[in-house]
């Protein structure tokens, strides 16, 4: 594929919509099990041995919602760049945390999709999060939205 065609493909509204729905959908799905189980999620966060124990519960309480809100905004097409930036930042943190866990030789569940598909932290998890990070970058660079177009001065509302 030539560079121009690649750019057109990456910048097309369809690609943007697919990226938004995929990224938002993954976070909404993964949060559906965590939202009402802050205790279980806090245990998993503690397992990473990264956060100070005093902050583990706070993270278990707010992290699922901090993921859910931008996920929903992405799916409906509101504030796509801000939502993707927030989720991209979280994904970068998750990748760093997984790398740290692997360097320390810990064998823990990632807590990504409670209670099923809760893989152990490893290269597949880092790869998956990297792909999601690329989706976030696509949305930041070429945002697409369902918002109505602006009305130009002196014209009627577009139909």
């Amino acid at each position: 594929m030539s560079e121009g065609r690649a750019r057109r493909f990456l910048g097309s509204p369809v690609t943007g919509a697919v990226c938004r729905l995929l990224l938002g959908g993954v976070f909404i799905y993964s949060d559906s099990h965590k939202l009402l189980r802050p205790d279980e999620f806090a245990r998993l966060i503690y397992g990473y041995r990264i956060l100070h124990p005093d902050l583990v519960n706070l993270a278990g309480i707010i992290l699922p919602w901090v993921e859910l809100v931008p996920g929903l905004f992405l799916v409906i097409g509101l504030l796509p760049r801000s939502s993707a930036a927030l989720l991209g930042g979280l994904l970068a943190l998750f990748i760093g945390a997984a790398a740290l866990v692997m360097m320390r030789g810990l064998s823990i569940h990632c807590g990504c999709f409670l209670p099923i598909l809760s893989d152990r932290v490893g290269w597949p998890l880092i790869l998956r999060n990297s792909v999601l990070l690329l989706l976030a970058l696509q949305i930041i660079i070429w945002p697409s939205s369902f918002l109505p177009r602006r009305r130009a001065p002196g014209t009627a509302l577009p139909r």
Binding site: L36, V56, N57, P70, S82, A85, I140, L147, G154, A156
Partner: protein, 185 residues
């Protein structure tokens, strides 16, 4: 395609309302607002949840690192307290993990009571559980929930002191305490 009703020039694509998404500052402010909204919603949801946990845990005198709620009547036990109970021989340990994990290594004397097969396995162990002075349930690590689950279920069946060794097998092993392999307690 968008068409103008008042002029006959060639229609052009109009920019979307971007809500500040066209500038870096706008994007960052939006991200911060989303973060704040998520945090507020999370705190509110936890406040009204039946599984509410303390926002900032206050570790007890046993220095348990995460003050997560336990079922009523079930108390937490640190590794040193668990080892003291093991040495004293006053407590019966219950291992809530799967049989394969139990066989790979467990606390000597602990009975395997997999949370997933509780109803099938418990009747075989009921006599020994009834005879114990106190009970200590555990599973793999702080991440797992099987220890708490079996403690809660046993508590409903036998009225005696019951504890959860929340840091579990990994902490026991890391502390260099005695261990046993195989299917036998």
């Amino acid at each position: 395609m968008a068409r103008s009703l008042t002029s006959n020039h060639r229609p052009r694509r109009l920019p979307r309302a971007d809500l500040g998404q066209s500038t870096l500052g706008g994007v960052l402010v939006g991200a911060f607002l989303l973060l704040a909204a998520g945090a507020v919603l999370g705190l509110a949801a936890n406040h009204f949840s039946s599984r509410r946990i303390p926002i900032f845990p206050k570790p007890g005198k046993d220095q348990q690192p995460v003050a997560l709620p336990l079922p009523p009547g079930v108390r937490s036990m640190s590794p040193m307290q668990a080892y003291a109970a093991f040495r004293a021989g006053t407590a019966l340990f219950l291992d809530g993990r799967a049989p394969e994990e139990y066989a790979a290594g467990h606390i000597p004397g602990a009975l395997n009571l997999p949370a997933a097969d509780f109803e099938a396995v418990y009747p075989d162990l009921a006599e020994r559980v009834d005879a114990a002075q106190s009970l200590v349930a555990y599973c793999q690590s702080i991440e797992c929930g099987e220890g708490v689950e079996i403690a809660d279920r046993v508590r409903e069946l036998v009225p005696k002191p019951i504890f959860v060794f929340e840091l579990g097998w990994e902490a026991w092993q890391a502390s260099g305490f005695p261990a046993r392999k195989g299917e036998q307690p």
